[in-house]
Each structure stands twice: as C-alpha cells, then as structure tokens.
C-alpha cells in the first residue's frame, strides 16, 4: 500500500506548493489526481517518485519510506523524454541494465509487441510520432515491472484520437500486471475513464479537497448517462475547489476519508 501522511512541500523561494496531503492507495488501484493549475499535483507526484523531497510528512510503500527514486516506482512524464541517442528498443531497455542481455532482449521484444511497435525497434526517437513516442515511454516504464506507476499528464500533449487510443491501451497493459497507477491529469474525461478513485485538489497551497470513488464497470462507455453523471459530479467538485470561499474539507478531516461520495 502507498501511504501519504500529511505530505507538504515548500520550495526554497517560499512557495507553499503542497500542504498536509494525506491518502492511502491500495495495491492495484488507479487514482487520478485532478485540480486547477498550481494545486501541487505534479509536486505531489515528484515527491512520490523521489525526484523532489517532501518538506514534511511521510510517503511509504509497503512500510518502506520513499525519499529517493525507488525500483518499485516508475514514472511517465508529460513528454516522452526518450533518449535521442538510443534506438526505440534501447530506450525501452534503458532501465534493465541489471538483467542478462538475453532476458533484456526478450523483455524489450515483449514490451514492443505490447505497445504495437515491434517494427520500430531500430528506429530513432526522432522518427516516431508523438503517440508512438509516448507508447515507447509507457513501455520503458512498464518493462521494469514497477509496483507503482506514476503518470504526470502523460497524454495531454496528444490529439484527442491518440489520447483516447492510449488511454484504452494503458488500461489493457495495466490489466496484465495491475500495478498501482497514480495519474495526474487536467482531463476529467480521462480521470473518469481510467480511475477507481478521483482525488480533487485545491490550489494555493495545494491541498486535498475531495475524493470520489468511481464504481463504473470497465470498459467504461464514454457516452453512457452514468459516465456523464459521474463527470458532472467531478466537474462540480473541481469548480468548488477553485472557489476560495468554499469551506476547506481537509480542515475537518485531514485524510479526506469522511468526504468520500
């Protein structure tokens, strides 16, 4: 279980990006974090990834403190961040330096097949489209078999068709090994399609505002009435989170448990 206990982050310039964020994420759960700009979503993700240290509070995975990048935690960024001097296959195998060459080849080939890019194994990253590059980034993150995969707005730079395609593809890949996914997104549609739970954050400073369980069965029909209703509820919560006059639920219940719908 991934546990965030009153996690806060204040940057050296005094900006209070994240304040007393607490939640518990079960193994295999998909949690979407949404909120307006500057609400600390990416700060939260970077703290879990160990790229930035939290100023206070604790992040633990199965009881082990996460203070630096951890082998069980992978991350996919907004941009693919492929290494331009490595082929697609070598990019995917980048994190597999501690396994034998044979196993690395097999796992990379399997990952390439899963993301539908077997024919691009020897291509340079510059030869890929945006969607293909992001598929490679997904394969690179999943090939090391993380228990927790963090996704920082991974599809936001893609067109609507590619985004939808990759969302479905991500779910297919997730269903194979069921790692815990923590997805930061601006896209309510994406949150409702993918997540078991949506965490709404409030900006300045970034705090947990509300949480919502999404109990829709998968695969989710984006055109169903229930999908629309769920989306509207999330949007309402998002609107309220941006209203500074709205009462702060975290003041009443720090973990946010009492606010679940």
């Amino acid at each position: 279980m991934l546990v965030l206990d009153r996690v806060g982050k204040t940057y050296p310039n005094g900006v209070n990006a994240l304040e007393r964020f607490s939640t518990e994420i079960r193994l295999g759960e998909i949690v979407a974090v949404i909120g307006g700009s500057g609400c600390g979503k990416s700060t939260l993700l970077r703290a879990i990834a160990g790229l930035d240290r939290a100023s206070y509070g604790a992040i633990t995975l199965d009881g082990e403190a996460l203070t630096a990048p951890h082998p069980k935690v992978g991350i996919i960024f907004q941009e693919p961040r492929l290494l331009p001097w490595l082929s697609v296959a070598d990019n995917i195998g980048f994190g597999l330096s501690d396994v034998s060459a044979t196993e690395r080849r097999e796992r990379v080939a399997a990952a390439l097949a899963k993301v539908g890019l077997s024919d691009k194994a020897k291509a340079w990253p510059r030869e890929l489209s945006g969607g293909q590059a992001q598929r490679v980034a997904i394969a690179r993150a999943l090939v090391v078999r993380p228990e927790v995969l963090l996704l920082d707005e991974p599809f936001s730079a893609l067109d609507a068709f590619t985004r939808r395609d990759l969302q479905d593809h991500l779910l297919d890949l997730w269903s194979e090994t069921r790692p815990t996914l923590v997805l930061v997104t601006h896209d309510v549609d994406e949150a409702v399609v993918l997540a078991d739970r949506v965490v709404v954050m409030r900006p300045r400073p970034g705090r947990l505002f509300e949480q919502a369980e999404i109990s829709l069965a998968r695969p989710r029909d984006r055109n169903s009435e229930l999908f629309e209703t769920t989306k509207r509820r999330i949007l309402t919560a998002l609107d309220r989170s941006l209203d500074q006059a709205a009462p702060d639920p975290t003041a009443a219940a720090e973990t946010g448990d009492a606010l679940w719908w």
Binding site: A68, P69, F77, L83, F94, W124, P125, R126, V144
Partner: protein, 281 residues
C-alpha cells in the same frame, strides 16, 4: 463518413533516384572548391595577361611548382611532419586538459566556482603573451611550442565541455534519476552522449586554434615546420614559398577537421538537427 489511410511516409532521400544521390555526393565538394579555384584561375590569367608581374603575389602555377620542388627535395614532408607532430601533441594535451577540467567544472558547482574565474581570466590573456614565459620555463625547443599549442586548444575545449554539461536537459537527467543511475553511470549513459554534439564542435574549434597557434609557436626560433617555411620565405624574399606554406596549412587544416567530422559521424546519426544541406534552403 471520412476514412483515413495509413500511408507509409518515406524520407525524401530514399525517394531520390540513385543517380541524383551520386550527383549530389560529387557536386557538394565541388561547390566548396568553386570559389578558390575561380580565384586561382582569375589570378593566373591576370598575371599571364600582364596585368600584374606576379612578383609579390605569384600566380598559382608558380606556387604549385614551388610545392613540387619542396616535395621532390623531401623538404616539404619533413616540415609537414614536424608541424603535424607539434599540432598533434598540443591538440592531445589541450583536449585532455580541457575535457577533464571542463567536465569537472560542468558537473560540480563547487569546482566551477573555484576553477572557472581563474580559467576565464587566463583565457583573456593574448596567446603571444605566453611566448616569452614558455621560452624561459620550457626552453626554445619542442616543449614550449607544444605547450603554446595546447594552451590554444585548451580554452575552446574547456568552455565547450563545461557549457555542454551545464546545458544538458534537466528532463533527460531526471530519466536517469528515475532509473537510479549511479554518478558514473549517469555520466556514461546520459551526460556523455548528451554533450557529444557540442564536444565535437569544440574539438573542431580547438583544432582550428591549434593550427593557428602552431604558426606562433614555430615563429619561436624553429628550424623546421611550415611556420619556419613562412619565416624563411619572408627573410629570403620568396613569396611563392610563403604562399606554398599557406596552401599546405589550409589543406592540412581542412583535412584534419574533415577527419574529426567523419570520425564523429557514426556517433551523431541520431541527431534531429536542422540540416540545410538536405534542401531546406
């Protein structure tokens, strides 16, 4: 209803007929030779027509026959070999020192604060100012000459390496961090490949300066080398010999620069860089 078809897009290079590609391979170097050859032919014609006596600026035919004479006597190769040895040794020393110190300054902030102000101050000193000191310290023979060339090569390499490391994309470094690369692994797998294009450029700049500094070095009482040929030509009033030495400098400089370019090419195939030669302009 609109349907889209996935059409494989091939690069324009592969679409070009082989004969056109062959034609381009030969025309590009030929284009580079067009200007100097036109100037040479024009000057030859001007001297032949009697518009100039060609005494101070000899025509290309005289320069070529001087080169031929020097080559036949074996003198040319002796001078070329001496100069190449000096440039080679100075370049190797300058590259080694510039790479190590540039990497240290680029990678560690404390080292940069400690080293960089001094190195930048030394960089501002005119190269010729080192000559008397090097002669005093290292003598009039090879060591002082090699040291002067190494000084010339050192600064562009140092600046190039330090600047390239400082400008490596933080996002790429974070990829290495997420995969928990150790310090040496981060340098080998992320930083070195990332700085390679800038490093190659600084090597070429450094080599160019090495060729410039070897002339200054060979003015310091040399009895061999292309720089000596220049001085000798000036003192004995042989402009054809001076021009012959200049032409040889140009050929050697361009050839060694081209060798670096060729050697680096396989390592830089991945670059997604603007390439006007591909026909953008």
């Amino acid at each position: 209803m609109t349907m889209t078809l996935d059409t494989p897009v091939e690069s324009t290079q592969s679409l070009a007929p082989p004969s056109a590609a062959r034609w381009r391979r030969w025309t590009r170097p030929a284009l580079g030779l067009l200007l100097p050859l036109t100037a040479a032919v024009a000057w030859e014609w001007a001297v032949a027509a009697g518009w100039s006596n060609g005494r101070l600026v000899p025509p290309p035919s005289t320069v070529i026959s001087t080169i031929d004479e020097l080559a036949r006597s074996g003198e040319l190769f002796r001078h070329m070999a001496t100069t190449l040895e000096r440039v080679g040794a100075g370049f190797a020393l300058g590259v080694a020192a510039g790479t190590v110190l540039g990497a240290i300054s680029g990678y560690w902030g404390l080292a940069r604060q400690l080293l960089d102000p001094t190195i930048q101050a030394l960089r501002a000193i005119p190269s010729i100012a080192w000559v008397p000191l090097f002669i005093l310290w290292l003598g009039i023979f090879e060591l002082s000459k090699v040291a002067l060339i190494a000084v010339g090569v050192f600064f562009p390499i140092y600046l190039g390496v330090m600047g390239a490391i400082l400008s490596v994309d933080r996002k790429i470094v974070e990829v290495g961090r997420t995969f928990r690369l150790s310090g040496p692994a981060m340098i080998r797998r992320i930083l070195l490949p990332a700085v390679l294009p800038a490093y190659v450029v600084s090597l070429r700049v450094g080599l160019g300066l090495g060729w410039m500094f070897v002339v200054a070095a060979e003015f310091m009482g040399a009895s061999e080398g292309l720089g000596y040929l220049l001085i000798d030509g000036q003192q004995l009033g042989k402009p054809a010999q001076i021009l012959a030495a200049i032409v040889i400098f140009a050929i050697l400089g361009k050839t060694t620069d081209w060798l670096i370019e060729i050697a680096a090419m396989p390592f830089l195939r991945w670059q997604d860089a603007f390439a006007p030669s591909r026909g953008a302009f």
